[in-house]
Subunit: 177 residues, 2 copies
Amino acid sequence: MSLKHAILVMLDKEPSSGYDLMKQFNSGLGYFWNAKHQQIYQQLKKLSEDALITCEEEPQHGKPDKKVYRITEKGQQVLKQWLHEPSVPAKINDALLVKIWGGHHLTPKALLKDITEHKNRHTETLSSLRQLERAFHDLSDAEKMHYQLPFLTLRRGILGEEAWLKWAQEAENTLKK
Amino acid sequence: MSLKHAILVMLDKEPSSGYDLMKQFNSGLGYFWNAKHQQIYQQLKKLSEDALITCEEEPQHGKPDKKVYRITEKGQQVLKQWLHEPSVPAKINDALLVKIWGGHHLTPKALLKDITEHKNRHTETLSSLRQLERAFHDLSDAEKMHYQLPFLTLRRGILGEEAWLKWAQEAENTLKK
DNA sequence: TTTTGCATGTAAAGGGTTACATGATTAC
DNA sequence: GTAATCATGTAACCCTTTACATGCAAAA
């Protein structure tokens, strides 16, 4: 229930179009919150109706028009309230683990194949997170201070991906026997 | 889209009632797949209608009647097919990280409080997973072989929780400054 | 000329949460 | 007596996914 709040957080940092938000969900924020463009446009509509954000159409040359959304006073209040509530624990729904848990119908080879595909994705994610981390380390102290909180979320991503890959190694060792 | 498959996996191992499945979702399997009882009963209804499982009412003494579900031939085929498809990557939706990412409106103290509450939950989870791990180590070699795959999922849980707690330590160090 | 990027949506179906609802037994 | 465990469900709402839908501009 907090795609709504994720959007408010983003618009609070910077006025954006649906398309801008979508790009953020597919990069930075996307490592811990997922949303498809259809969902984003729907939420923006709803948030507008509830007057938590406003919308202004912005003509562009050589590109389609943009709708730029801004958080309102009311939106900021709602956001602030949400920030002060205890956050709900993240829920894990991992199909790969369900499969392994009940995978005695499969050959170890088939399981390994599936694990390897996931491993490739996690390896890519980790390397792009590490790239961001290096970029952070090159910042000035003032900038580091400014990006302290997003950096913490980056660290969560890195530690999470490292743990995943460590597990994959264990799993491969077990299944290769 | 695989609560359906999670249930088939469970019923393939052992015929169960909705209540039995619910208990499993709240313990073992619950570490990587979540479902509420209302959802389970609805899925069981649907799976029955699609003839992937059958239902038999079983009277009990001193307890309410039970509906015991069993996987059918057709259900096993559907399950097998799902097992052979590449599994969809787990999606992360973590409100705590959204909060931290955009948490400049909050005091470090408020963030720490939220993190600490999550930490308590993760600490508890980890200790119960470790208990299961110790129980596994006490098994005979034959039994260990038999529980090899569930053990892998247990290891995933342990490595995941350890990584979470390691991150929390980092986050606390950062925020205490 | 085909793909990629920009930019926005609607509609239907499916999955998940919250609230409501019941009722017996067992353990404290 | 009061809470926990056993056991099952319906209804309304909300959130998410998939499919459908359009159209221009720039780069390859």
